[in-house]
Symmetry: C2
Subunit: 95 residues, 2 copies
């Protein structure tokens, strides 16, 4: 099933709801950087996100350097930002 | 304890031993991309690498997009490539 890209209005509302996430400068995605005490804390967080992502069948593009985790969310099927990204961002923030 | 950066000779020998790893183009690091069947396989691999890395107290810089994991190894204390990176690359390859 195709996933709808957010309209400008939906996007404005959705981004207003999210704390700490910003639009990527180079593509239609939202990004957030999380910083932890150390690698164990960072990877523990990643493991929880991985389980969420697999359950939702919506996977982040992410990177980790020691205590820092950068997450980008976008929807390939929508060729941009969709409600699935907003929902995943909220789920991640709720961890 | 400071970690010694590999000499040119040591680096040539070490890289000759490693399969699939290449020097980064933009800094003194080695990189390899691993591709798996799906996200679960990719994250399972990352979890094993995370445990290795924590045990060795030598952490990768890495990213993941669905079934693909890109790993870069470098030693900040050596300001470049050290034997610790070579050892970690071998440990990862042995998984």
């Amino acid at each position: 099933m195709a996933v709808a890209k957010l309209t400008e209005e939906e996007r404005t509302i959705a981004l207003g709801d999210l704390q700490g996430w910003s639009l990527a400068s180079d593509r239609d995605a939202i990004e957030r950087t999380f910083t932890f005490a150390d690698f164990v804390e960072a990877f523990g967080f990643m493991t929880r996100v991985a389980l969420l992502a697999e359950k939702a069948d919506h996977h982040p593009e992410w990177s980790n350097v020691y205590n820092r985790v950068e997450i980008a969310l976008t929807t390939h099927d929508a060729d941009g930002l969709s409600q699935r990204d907003i929902d995943m961002a909220k789920s991640i923030d709720a961890l």
